[in-house]
């Protein structure tokens, strides 16, 4: 049974291995991949034969490169699921991988359920009969686990927020439906601008939540952080200072690029994931030149750049290059070695960058508190307190569901605008309401009809 829809998911265990693989399976797998992948050859994947590896780039809707990737094309039935399968082997680490996954969903795939690739493989005759039991176990076990995980991830604030939105939409739907199903009963007229205001209000709430997606993800996975600066500026000392307090929780994990090591540092409650700590140590220890090329590659991977400058020396050409590297990036400029006789001042650096400038000393640890505050402020966008158990969106799936719900609400506004009628508005609102239900795991049931009868006096 060839399934009608196309699914995608990250196929490699997260945090393991240098390459992240996204698998897309289904009738529209190739079409989906072609929308987000530009082959270096300039050809479309659709033009390739089966079992081919194609090199190229993942690009987003603005046609900006997200990652480089090797793509494996497997046409049905020569694949694991016996459907058309495209595997995107992405090189750039977890952040670009997530972004790429989200792109596959925007391009027409939907998130795969737990065990769904295996299920399809079996249903399409890929596996031996004796494996059926194992497949069923996998499906039920994985679903149980993911359910637990999913509900575990929902903070009280988050699910309460979603429930409140759903309740508000349900109220609107019930009113529209009551007006449709009981045109001769005394149901108050539906006032369009009220519906509109309500929808706009919910859209704003969704937007707010989506903004926290970044925060939630950072709190869960750590903020990709690059430390850059010319040799001997104190990168290694800063690293050690950041790591020191939290030494106990530092773990060496294989990083997203095969030859580097990442370490976690908890700074002011924000987990920083510092790129290539091994490299930083090596270059500083051996007083080796760190090439600007390497700095550029760090900056590109990072969500936050800590750019170090030496207060005791004049600015060099290398320093100027660092300034141009961090232009337009989330960065904090650190004027180090405040314990020495200063040659550079805070004001002189501030004149060269839009990023905040802090004076620190990695020797005396002067100013490190300010750094923690600055990082925290960046993460919480100034609007949230670290101690607040706020509502965070914490994975790409949640964000995608919110975006889709928002798209349905936008459609509702368009429908209202086009004056298409109550029943059309109801279609869009229902879609949004059902979408949001996927976040809290609530089912459709009789909710709408119950709401109609509890709110409106209807009957002969």
């Amino acid at each position: 049974m060839q399934q009608g829809d196309t699914i995608s998911a990250i196929a490699t265990a997260q945090g393991e291995g240098g390459i992240g693989i996204i698998r897309i399976s289904g009738i529209k797998a190739i079409e989906t991949a072609d929308k987000i992948f530009w082959a270096a050859s300039g050809k479309k994947l659709a033009e390739y034969e089966t079992q081919r590896a194609v090199f190229g780039h993942i690009v987003d809707e603005q046609e900006e490169v997200v990652d480089e990737a090797m793509v494996l094309l497997m046409r049905a039935p020569h694949s694991y699921t016996r459907e058309d399968v495209v595997e995107l082997q992405c090189h750039g680490g977890l952040m670009p991988l997530r972004k790429t996954l989200a792109l596959t969903w925007q391009a027409g795939a939907r998130p795969a359920e737990r065990g769904e690739f295996t299920k399809r493989a079996f249903l399409n005759g890929r596996m031996d009969l004796s494996q059926a039991q194992a497949v069923m176990d996998v499906i039920s076990a994985k679903t149980e686990r993911s359910l637990k995980m999913a509900t575990g991830h929902l903070s009280g604030h988050f699910s309460a927020g979603i429930r409140a939105m759903r309740h508000s939409i349900l109220g609107q739907i019930a009113h529209l439906e009551a007006a449709i199903d009981f045109p001769e009963d005394e149901v108050d007229d539906v006032v369009m601008y009220e519906v509109e205001n309500n929808v706009v209000d919910i859209r704003n709430q969704i937007k707010k939540l989506l903004k926290t997606a970044q925060t939630g993800r950072i709190l869960k996975d750590g903020l990709m952080t690059a430390i850059v600066g010319k040799p001997n500026v104190g990168k290694s000392s800063l690293l050690n200072a950041l790591l020191r307090e939290e030494r106990a929780i530092v773990t060496d994990i294989p990083g997203t690029t095969r030859d580097s090591i990442e370490e976690y540092a908890n700074v002011g409650g924000v987990p920083l994931r510092i790129i290539d700590t091994a490299g930083i140590r090596a270059t500083d220890d051996l007083v080796e030149q760190i090439g600007v090329d390497k700095a550029r590659s760090y900056v590109n991977q990072a969500s936050l750049v800590l750019a170090l400058f030496d207060a005791s020396r004049e600015l060099t050409a290398e320093d100027e290059e660092i300034f141009s590297l961090i232009e337009g990036r989330e960065a904090i400029v650190l004027l180090n070695k405040s314990d020495l006789q200063p040659v550079l001042t805070e004001e002189m650096l501030q004149a060269k960058t839009a990023a905040p400038v802090l004076v620190i000393s990695t020797v005396t640890e002067h100013g490190l508190d300010n750094l923690a505050d600055a990082i925290r402020q960046k993460v919480y966008d100034g609007g949230l307190d670290a101690g607040d158990e706020g509502a965070f969106v914490n994975d790409e799936r949640q964000a995608e569901i919110l975006r889709q719900a928002d798209a349905h609400l936008t459609a509702a506004l368009r429908t209202i605008d086009a004056q298409l009628g109550l029943d059309f508005i109801s279609i869009d609102l229902r879609s949004a309401w059902e979408k949001l239900g996927e976040l809290t795991g609530e089912t459709v049931g009789e909710d709408i009809i119950n709401e109609i009868f509890s709110k409106f006096c209807i009957g002969k």
Binding site: M1, I139, S140, I180, D181, P183, D423, C457, K460
Partner: protein, 632 residues
């Protein structure tokens, strides 16, 4: 041997009860060619309308059009006997436009009686059935109260509110059916003996007042539509005499009387035990549940041309008579109203519909079907709709042919039956458009397109109807092709014409089809300035709707297509869910109880999770391959 007990006759199909479900079931079975018996406990009350005089309305009107498309009688009969027609919801989208008519009750009834009596293969008899006769898990026939036996290959129960019927008016109660008829006091016991689970439901009807005692000057007139409308695809009526309805309201005085007497309300003092519907609350319930509402509306609907009885819609009550009389007189226009019939509540036995397959046959008794209010629904239209499906499927059963199961994407009838057999119901079930997920596809204007071919397949659609249908379809097709093929260019002449018609200008060559997709363009507008072919109104309507709402319709069709695969995956009737590993306990229990016909139906059972469905799919595939190995 009791001399009274003898086999009086043998039929293919016996229908117990001749209400709206029963007559449709019997007519369908007989028209398909089965020898059919329609058993009624009163020859004078075939297709009686014991409650309101109206037929149709949102979703209900859709049902009437659907059963008409299948070859049913309700639409035809309503067109012949109704005295007011209105299209409701015309300010909303085309999917929820709803035709509603006021019938002349007696005319409706006697016209239907005449049709039944003159249908080939159909016998109508006044007999009261006491017993269902079984042979193992197969139906054998029924036994009349006087002892004689009628044998049948299939039996359809369409017993309405008559099983152990009990009438309640205030503190006074008695056993009986609606309108002073007998109740069937024994049939329920024979159902219980057959292992069938029963429920006890309740419904009610308001008082009827004398038209001569009403002051119409104090009420608002509610006339019918000027345009002549019909339910049936086959009706050609273009003019019809129409009678208005009237609107008035309760007030604080009315409510005070009801509140002061609330302790005497049967639902408050425990006399009523059955579960009543929420959409049809009695006036006393409305006042309790919505205490802030200052007034409730009442429609006064004439019950026919040859009677002074007027139905007081909105006034359903089971209050004692003195209270009924007192509060009626507080209402503007009803100050001097004389009550001709009291309002009452009725309690009755019905079956738990989850015991049925989507064909309306009992899962555990071959050849035994159930339809209508006996399945826990309410409403003439809901009953009639189930009746025709039960009639068709009983006939298919007798003939050994494929049953007719309508999907939720096919018809409201499919939604209604799927809801009943999959989820059951805890109150008398009423169809609503909000119950349908593919509402845009299930329009009352396209019921013919959706269902005529199915009616034709089972043998209910006559050649005449089929020819008319195929002609209409061809005309739609032709019009669509014409509109797609023919374009206009932005020449000065065309620009002037568009401007004259009030249509936004075009930049490139544009087909008429594309022009019609604009929200502000309709066929008449184009026709006013361009030389377009003349279309029949119903053809033009289809063309306009399918072009204007193309985007929305396409979206819903995609959703349907997605579900279709699961709907088509049928589950074996005798599947032992204990044999399916890895199901969660709750899922297993619910699946075993409902025994769904398809994986699609299984997915709608509450308590069955998506993981259970995946497990089920894998298990089915495993079984298929084992079977294949055995055979190969």
């Amino acid at each position: 041997m009791d001399k009274n007990v003898f086999v009086a006759d043998s039929y293919d199909v016996i229908v117990v009860g001749a209400g709206h479900a029963g007559v449709e079931a019997a007519l369908a079975a007989a028209r398909i060619g089965c020898r059919t018996l329609l058993a009624t406990l009163s020859m004078d009350n075939i297709a009686m309308m014991p409650c309101n005089p109206s037929v149709g309305g949102p979703a209900k009107g859709h049902l009437v059009r659907e059963l008409d498309a299948l070859g049913g009688e309700m639409g035809v009969n309503a067109d012949k006997t109704c005295i007011q027609f209105r299209m409701l919801n015309t300010g909303k989208g085309p999917a929820v436009h709803a035709l509603r008519a006021q019938a002349d009750k007696k005319l409706y009834q006697f016209t239907m009686k005449k049709t039944c009596e003159n249908t080939e293969n159909l016998d109508v008899k006044q007999i009261l059935i006491d017993k269902l006769l079984l042979e193992g898990d197969k139906v054998k026939g029924v036994q009349v109260e006087t002892g004689e036996i009628y044998e049948a290959k299939a039996v359809i129960m369409a017993t309405g509110t008559y099983l152990k019927g009990r009438i309640i008016i205030g503190e006074h109660t008695y056993t009986g059916g609606p309108n002073g008829q007998r109740a069937a006091m024994k049939f329920s016991d024979s159902l219980l003996a057959a292992g069938i689970r029963l429920m006890r439901f309740k419904t009610g009807t308001p008082a009827r007042v004398d038209a001569r005692t009403l002051d119409y000057d104090k009420m608002e007139i509610q006339p019918g539509d000027e345009a002549c409308r019909n339910f049936s695809f086959m009706s050609d009526e273009t003019t019809r005499e129409q009678i208005p309805c009237w609107l008035t309201y309760t007030n604080e005085k009315t409510h005070k009387i009801l509140r002061d007497n609330m302790h005497r309300a049967p639902m408050a003092n425990g006399i009523i035990e059955g579960i009543g519907p929420r959409y049809c609350p009695s006036i006393e319930t409305k006042i309790l549940r919505f205490p802030d509402k200052e007034r409730h509306q009442l429609f006064l609907e004439p019950e026919g041309l040859n009677t002074n009885e007027v139905y007081v819609q909105g006034m359903s009550t089971s209050m004692p008579m003195d209270v009924q009389l007192e509060f009626l007189r507080t209402i503007p226009g009803l100050e001097h109203a004389k009550v001709m019939r009291a309002g009452y509540a009725i309690e009755y036995d019905c079956i738990d519909p989850t015991q049925l397959k989507p064909t309306l046959e009992f899962k555990d008794i071959h050849g035994f079907f159930s339809a209508g209010q006996a399945n826990g629904t309410s409403g003439y239209e809901e009953a009639a709709g189930q009746g025709i499906i039960a009639g068709i499927n009983a006939a298919m059963f007798v003939k050994g042919e494929e049953p007719l199961v309508l999907k939720r994407s096919d018809a409201y009838l499919g939604v209604l039956i799927d809801d009943l057999v999959t989820k059951g119901t805890s109150e008398p079930y009423r169809i609503m458009t909000s119950r349908a997920e593919y509402r845009l596809l299930l329009r009352q204007d396209n019921a013919d397109q959706r269902l005529t071919p199915m009616g034709r397949r089972v043998g209910l659609v006559t050649d005449e109807r089929w020819e008319r249908f195929t002609k209409k379809q061809a005309a739609i097709q032709q019009a669509m092709e014409y509109l797609k093929k023919n374009s206009i260019n932005p020449t000065q002449e065309i620009k002037d014409k568009l401007a004259a018609a009030g249509i936004e200008p075009i930049r490139n060559a544009t087909s008429f089809y594309e022009l019609l997709r604009r929200p502000d363009v309709d066929y008449a507008k184009l026709q006013a300035v361009f030389n377009l072919p003349e279309l029949a109104p119903e053809v033009q309507q289809q063309v306009e709707i399918s072009i204007t709402y193309e985007g929305y319709i396409k979206k819903q069709l995609e959703q349907v297509e997605h579900m279709e695969k699961l709907e088509e995956k049928l589950l074996p009737e005798n599947l032992d869910y204990n044999q399916v590993p890895s199901l969660r306990d709750e899922g297993r229990e619910k699946l075993a109880k409902i025994r769904p016909r398809s994986v699609g139906q299984a997915s709608r059972i509450s308590g069955v999770s998506p993981a259970d469905i995946s497990v089920l799919l894998v298990w089915l595939e495993q079984q298929r391959r084992i079977q294949e190995k055995k055979e190969g």
